[in-house]
Symmetry: C2
Subunit: 248 residues, 2 copies
Amino acid sequence: MAEEQKDSCLVNKLGHFINLGDVDAELLAALEKEIQNKGRGTEIWSQQDSIENLFVVKDGWLASYMILEDGRRQILEIHYPGDIVGLADLPFWHATSHLKAITDCVLCPFPKSEVDVIFRRSPRLTALLFTLAMIDKAVNTDRLRVLGRMSARERVAHILLEVHSRLQLGQPELGFTFRLPLSQFDIADALGLTNVSVSNSLQQLQKDSLIERSNGFITLNECESLSKMSGFVNRYHEIDIGWFPHAK
Amino acid sequence: MAEEQKDSCLVNKLGHFINLGDVDAELLAALEKEIQNKGRGTEIWSQQDSIENLFVVKDGWLASYMILEDGRRQILEIHYPGDIVGLADLPFWHATSHLKAITDCVLCPFPKSEVDVIFRRSPRLTALLFTLAMIDKAVNTDRLRVLGRMSARERVAHILLEVHSRLQLGQPELGFTFRLPLSQFDIADALGLTNVSVSNSLQQLQKDSLIERSNGFITLNECESLSKMSGFVNRYHEIDIGWFPHAK
DNA sequence: CGGTAAGTTGATCGAGTTCAAACTTTGTGG
DNA sequence: CCACAAAGTTTGAACTCGATCAACTTACCG
């Protein structure tokens, strides 16, 4: 792998799943040519915007969300370094959701047409993109089950594990303590709750020694119990790439 | 288009979005070689099963769902004629959800490896499959918003519109009356409610003359009001295929 | 140090759940 | 084609979890 790709979050994330050939690495490099900085709280795009560029997240966290008529908000997805943001909106004329920077972010915009290039040039990379999209979808349906059928405490436990599992993908050496830049309002809007019940749930979990908190950091003391109570499944494990087209 | 594909639900659905060339039609035909009948209520696969075959739905309705430890159920997705079932589970060793026939079904099983063939042979069809998967994902995130932030009445209104919009895709001539083979338990499990509140909501909607019901059929009297109250968006409209690879 | 955003705590309220019973529709075999 | 069973729907009463509202505390940042 060429030197300049070593520090690419995208290659880092994708390399978890398959070995990238030279052609593939080159195709991916094209996605990270340009760099933009976005300050915390910046609205990257709005529902109904027509999307020109997708983004590779180089650094920072973002959130996709929808706003209801009465102003209530539902966070649909959280995006981390190494994610490609906007693939889900590719087939639509207009964005299906809002996108906002939760922390300061470094993004690499690239045009929709680059996806077409990948589809035409690399079946293997295509399969990988497809796989990533399906993993995102699985995370999504997991949350559907959480919102549909779980108590506030279980929901909070679940999202902590979800965030942790995603961070581990980018930092395999990560322990059980991590920085959580989401406010309790953010967490509530992701889980279909209010900030008040998120606060209560977090304190309950802390009282039961399942988690610890200190100035923005979370420690998962008992992943086992947390997983059990929330039915959490780590979707980044158990990926089957046996059906992939072979590298040339 | 060859005669034998005229009555393919898959080609019918996909043809809505792009013109299928001969190569593509041939690739698709390979997915419908074999036919299986499944009776209403049949469990097609279970969570944790390893999946050999995907299915094209030729006739009938199916549901993907998860079961929690305590037995509660969350329906994740409803599958209709023309759908490809299992794409979302492609990257995983094990099924992420259960799959059951809601009505008697006619299915066409085909091996995972056929997807690989499509990825290698037809970028255009690949883009289309990707698009379909992203539309499904959009339907999914819409439901996420519904479960996270909407009242029982709004949820029920939303799912009726969702089902209707999907049926229209297969039957463009469909009016505002359609058969709904879902029990109120099914609807409740899709919306994170109980059968009781689904019953109440339906009756409220009927009392307000927004819908009518008679022996398993639903009539949407006021799509406008229903859409407004539930923030419904028809995801099958406004598909942008401008970025697609061109047909050869 | 002062002001703002974020988190905590407590009281009250209500939408939806739970449980249970009555009622309706559908399907099946005698 | 009827009788009966099974499945699905409706209705009502009691309850509960989380929402709402509001006051208060803490952390952060210029």
